[in-house]
Every structure is written in C-alpha cells, then in structure tokens.
Symmetry: C2
Subunit: 138 residues, 2 copies
C-alpha cells in the first residue's frame, strides 16, 4: 500500500481541532512531496492539479495556521517572497545560490553550539535563529 506522506500533517491538523479540507489536503500533499522550497503562487499551481479550487488566499491562510502549529517553516530569503517547507526534516540552515536562486540545505552542529553559547554570554536564552549563506558556485 502506498504510504501517504501528508498523513502526519493531517494528523497534526486534527489534533489541533482543525478541519481537514480538500484544499488543505492538496496543499499538504504537495508540500510533503516537494524537494524544494516553493512560494505561495507555486503552491497554488501544484496543489491546483490535485484540487483545482485551491486559492492563493487559502494557501496563505493555511501556511499561517500550519506555521503556528509548528508544522511548517516560512523562509524569507533576501528580497524574495516567502517560501515554505515542512518542518518534519531535522533542523538545518540554508545556502542560497545567488545565480540560480536554488536553495541548498546544510547543518553544522558546531555553529548550532556556538550560537547557543553566544546567546548565553549575552544573557539570553536562544529561542530561534536564522542563518542564511549567500554564495556563488566556484
């Protein structure tokens, strides 16, 4: 049997007392399958193939709700509009290819550790962080 990758997200919605609508199902399915970091119009495009009635407003509304529930992450790379990705993958940061716009994920435990140390030194408890590297292929 085919395993539905979107199932855990639907469960999260249900747990939060939210309804699982056709459009949310479609959006989550698309997001769960995405290898990249699509923005809102792109989600409308992709989800529209499954459920044509998905509107831009609903995508934004859904992203807001899911972000509050911690189910997805919203990224705002430099001048671009917001992009989204599911939050099920282990934590990582992003490197943005300045020429292609492509986003590469990476993770550095050392940097994570240093960040926590720096926050503590400054008298703060680290709640979140944003690390983006911008570069060009060499």
């Amino acid at each position: 049997m085919v395993q539905n990758k979107a199932a855990p997200f639907e469960a999260a919605l249900k747990d939060a007392g939210l309804r699982i609508t056709r459009q949310r199902k479609a959006i989550l399915e698309v997001l769960a399958a995405a290898e990249d970091h699509p923005d809102a119009p792109e989600l409308v495009r992709r989800a529209g193939k499954i459920e044509p009635s998905v509107s831009l407003a609903t995508v934004y509304r859904t992203m807001t709700v899911l972000e509050e529930k911690g189910v997805i992450h919203r990224h705002q790379f430099d001048g671009e509009s917001a992009r989204f990705e599911t939050a099920n993958a282990p934590h990582h940061d992003h490197m943005i290819d300045l020429d292609s716009g492509q986003v590469i994920e990476f993770r550095s435990d050392k940097i994570e550790q240093l960040q926590r140390e720096i926050a503590r030194e400054l008298g703060y408890e680290l709640v979140g962080h944003k690390l983006e590297l911008y570069g060009r292929r060499r």
Copy 2:
C-alpha cells in the same frame, strides 16, 4: 572643534558623484549618531528635526543608493519592516530580543570561519550571509 560623524559618509557620496543635499545631510547625520537600528519612518522623524522637508520617499531612495555604495546596511528582521545602520562599524551579526525588539550586536570569528568552510564544502564561494539570533533575557 566638534567632529562631524557624518563627514565620511558625505565624502562617500561625493566620491560616487552624488549630490550632497540638505535631506541627505540630515539623514546621514541621524544615522551616524544612531545607537540603534531605526526604520524608515523613524529616520524621517529624527531627520525631520534637522531638516523638516525630509520625506519618506527620500529616505528610502537614499537608503537604496547608500546601500549600493556599501555605506549602509539594510536589515529585515523577521516580520518587521527594514531597519538601517551605517556600515562603518566592523562586521557583526544581530541578536534580537523577542520581548523588547531591542537589537544587540555581536561578533564571532569562529562562526565566520565556519560559514566560509561550509560554503566551500558545498562548492560555493561565500558572498554574504545573514545570522540572526532570536532570544529572551534569562
């Protein structure tokens, strides 16, 4: 004699073949004196005390020009509107106090170094980066 902190920025304008107008003078003076990271409306407010004719459009236009010349930095913290700071201080990153919105500057050579290494490992030349820590006072 009182040293004009804005002088180097005016020089940069002149070098770039740009005109030193009353409004630019006022904006630069305010930015050079700022201990914080003001946004555009705040710059209008402060510069307006020196030169009342400073408009929002001019602040944005000036910030764009100065950013291109590398004289100032533009920051886009989480959901907020853009904030600015002069680029004369040595490079640093930012820690944002989630409760007060206050911005604390810090610098970590180790992290800078690690970032460069990571970029190289990924096959990229690091052109720029953005590191923001979000935390709460402990």
